[in-house]
Assembly symmetry: C2
Homo-oligomer: 356 residues x 2
């Protein structure tokens, strides 16, 4: 099964729904005031300029996998998790000081620019941009919730799904808090990093969407637990692969400049493990280059060599592989129907390669 | 009817529920990690150190007013709107750079301090504090939604209420965006200011909670529309009175230093009207003092004189009175039961005085 193609097919179904959603809300906002209209237009632009729609796809496949039949409604409803994702990204972009997403100006960056025109000084305009980013994120979060309320699924299932959605948000925010903490104290234990991956990626990106779909498809709590046993290890592996790509991937593959994880000084599992195993000289190299804003290509290569020589790369690859196997083993117990079973097996393998 | 006493009686019922909520979530968070535990403890401290619980009280009175019978459940559920309020305040405090709320350190201020210990420089620690404020706000928002999901009211009513709650959040965020815009461009038309009041105060503080309570009590859409005709004008009047107190109130009454609205350079209806009516000299005074960080008591008095002499105070008082009368007139059409009718009439009168 070609999972990339499956994902592409799903994108073709879900992207028009996202477009409809934004157009409707942009139209509605015109009745109120231009501020929201402009903000929503920018969010639409960011959203439709990229994004893999992995979370809505997982929600959709899971719904169908437990026997859900309402194809049209699940696609419409699946944009809720994408909108929640966008709300969190808008806040995340403020936290990470990122000025572009999918090549489009982030909300706080756009309003920072507008702020320069309407406010008197630079500090004010940054604060203005961030303030607008906070509230625009909050608006998208509320609208994302609303998509789920307004779906035509049974009210009891919707409430159960909503409760799940809020747990997901609370959980990823905990992961985000852990991330902020780790980034600012500039050190972490392997346990802290893995726990953060569990909260920030595994539960949020994989388990949450799978649960949402399964709940709307009528799954029992027991089945949800079984899904977790597949979702969490696969999700952590997904993040580990992301870390590997963040250091070893080329620009084309990851869509970010080479070595950007090093430049940002990210405390990934690779870095933590390398620091643990490093000799004095290797440690000096790691510390010297980690967080270096003007890191050169040669220095990125120097960093990679240390990650390899300390065994950190092998360790991370091994851990990811082990987790993928664990997840695949658990998948048999879930009892998804045949099509979904195949999709999720292919997905697990694909996540281990992590090119999506 | 003594509305202040009614509110106090309600606070005695709802505050223990808030305490139970925080204690439970603090206990749960200990299973995950200390970061959230500490953050939740701080949010609990802020919440229980003050706040009038006006929104949950309105929700409760409205529920009872349309004939709702489940006293225990509505009190438990009413904390959802208070938690949403706290989530928005946490974000608002970042936007307004406020370091204290009810005399307790705000979330971003607390983490700014922690940031100074764990990060290397001042700019980083401010960003760290703001980042934590954003995510902790998001967590409380998600938990606030969850309170409503987990309530024992009929699933269909809960979904309708939830949808309403999201509209409220989206709407107040629009109002907040308008506020941020107006504050940074440092000028506004009366229409813009009143529209912002409608979004930020009237719909959020009065209409929203009344709708939530009425929905859970089984009210029809027609009834909700009638409630709006009471809620929106009374809510705008409430904000106008707040503005008047912000300039003319004494420290004891408003719990903020004298003239803090002037110091912050707030574009209130008073300021906008005064600027419109002012002669050259009066205009100079207004512009000189508006936003002056080290404004003296004499200068506050000077500012007040101009607000009075330009007729802005009379205008604002007159507008508030007119709106209160409009709201009271609409109240008869709602058909709340006798107890609630009395409460809301007293509330409208009280809001015109605006000492709560």
């Amino acid at each position: 099964m070609d999972i990339k193609n499956e994902l592409k097919l799903f994108q073709e179904k879900v992207n028009p729904e996202l477009k409809i959603f934004f157009d409707k809300n942009i139209e509605d906002s015109k009745k109120n005031n231009f501020i929201t209209t402009e903000a929503l237009k920018q969010v639409k632009k960011i959203t439709l300029s990229g994004g893999k729609r992995l979370r809505p796809a997982l929600m959709y496949w899971s719904y169908k996998g437990v026997g859900g039949q309402n194809e049209k409604e699940i696609i419409k409803t699946s944009i809720s998790i994408e909108l929640i994702h966008i709300f969190l990204l808008i806040h995340d972009d403020i936290i990470d000081n990122d000025s572009k997403r999918h090549g489009v100006e982030t909300i706080h960056a756009k309003y920072n620019k507008i702020g320069k025109i309407i406010t008197k000084n630079k500090r004010d305009s940054v604060h203005f941009g961030n303030s607008m980013g906070i509230v625009v994120g909050d608006i998208i979060g509320a609208l994302g919730n609303q998509v789920l309320f307004q779906s035509k699924f049974d009210a009891k299932l919707v409430i159960k799904a909503l409760s799940q959605l809020q747990s997901i948000v609370a959980r990823v925010a905990v992961g985000e808090a852990q991330d902020v903490f780790i980034e600012h104290k500039r050190s972490a234990s392997e346990e802290e990093v893995l726990d953060m991956y569990k909260n920030k990626t595994a539960k949020y990106t994989v388990e949450g969407p799978l649960h949402l779909g399964a709940i709307l498809g009528g799954a029992s709590d027991e089945l949800l637990n079984k899904i977790s046993k597949f979702a969490v290890p696969v999700g952590v592996a997904f993040q580990i692969q992301d870390d590997i790509l963040g250091i070893f991937g080329d620009e084309e593959k990851i869509g970010k400049p080479i070595g950007s994880d090093i430049r940002e000084g990210k405390q990934t599992i690779l870095v933590v493990r390398a620091l643990k195993n490093a000799n004095k000289k290797q440690k000096e190299t790691l510390i010297k280059l980690l967080g270096k804003k003007d890191i050169s290509k040669d220095e990125v290569e120097e960093f990679r060599v240390v990650i390899r020589e300390t065994g950190a790369l092998d360790y991370a690859n091994g851990l990811a592989k082990k987790l993928i196997e664990e997840g695949k083993g658990a998948l048999n117990d879930v009892g998804f129907n045949e099509g979904a079973q195949k999709t999720f097996l292919a997905l697990a393998d694909f996540m281990a390669k992590r090119e999506i």
